[in-house]
Amino acid sequence: MAFPLTLPPVGDRNIRVERAFAAPPARLWRALTEPALLLQWQGMPSHPIIEAEVDLRVGGRWRWAWRHPSGNLMVASGEYLLLDAPHRMIHTELFEEDWTDGPTTITTDLIPTEAGTRMVADILYTGPRGRDMAMASGMEHGMHICYDQLAALLAP
């Protein structure tokens, strides 16, 4: 079952990722925090995931590594700031050779619904380019609106 992914613009340094899942929050929490499970879904055909280390406690660190098409490793790591299983997680994230120019702080809420879980992840860019990232998100939203308007205009 494929649910739509939305990236609504919020605030001037945030991107929000919203997605529904057909599983209860506890199951989603496991998939978000257990290395053996992370290795099963966090990779991409172009960037297979080869490492997932998780020290799941407040102040604990995580580190994931993907194989970049160039053969180099793409590594992200960060710290868990809040763990309220299976409701809310706050963690930092920083990619090595990061062009966002600073870590992001990600607040993930797992909200139980009749069908399963609605996940809302708020990505706060803390670097000087945060505003640009947020704006690009807002622009995508704006572009969709523009395209919709264009489609309505072109409709017979």
Binding site: L5, L7, A23, W29, R30, A31, P35, Q40, D132, C146
Partner: protein, 115 residues
Amino acid sequence: MTAPSPLDRSFAALADPTRRAILQHLAQGPATAGEIAARFPLSQPAISRHLRLLGEAGLIARRVDAQRRPATLAPEGLTALTDWIGGLRASYETRFAQLDRLLAALPDTDTPQKD
């Protein structure tokens, strides 16, 4: 510091609210610096400077039309920006589809797995 990429220049050009407002204005159709200046509380030289930066960022094109030189939006420049966020979206969509399959196969359990 590495040299700014075209995407960096686009982001830098868009960081200014006046330049974003100029782009919004141009979304309605081509306009000259004079026409834009008439709608903003800025001098024509200031508007021209903003137009030059938007042009260098690849976000607008200037037609050489005798003295008029109207500015138009350059959709391909905007595409680089929306491609960036589109890449982010595609990455999430790919991984979440995999997560859907994993969740469907995962049994419910109240005891989180210990390492």
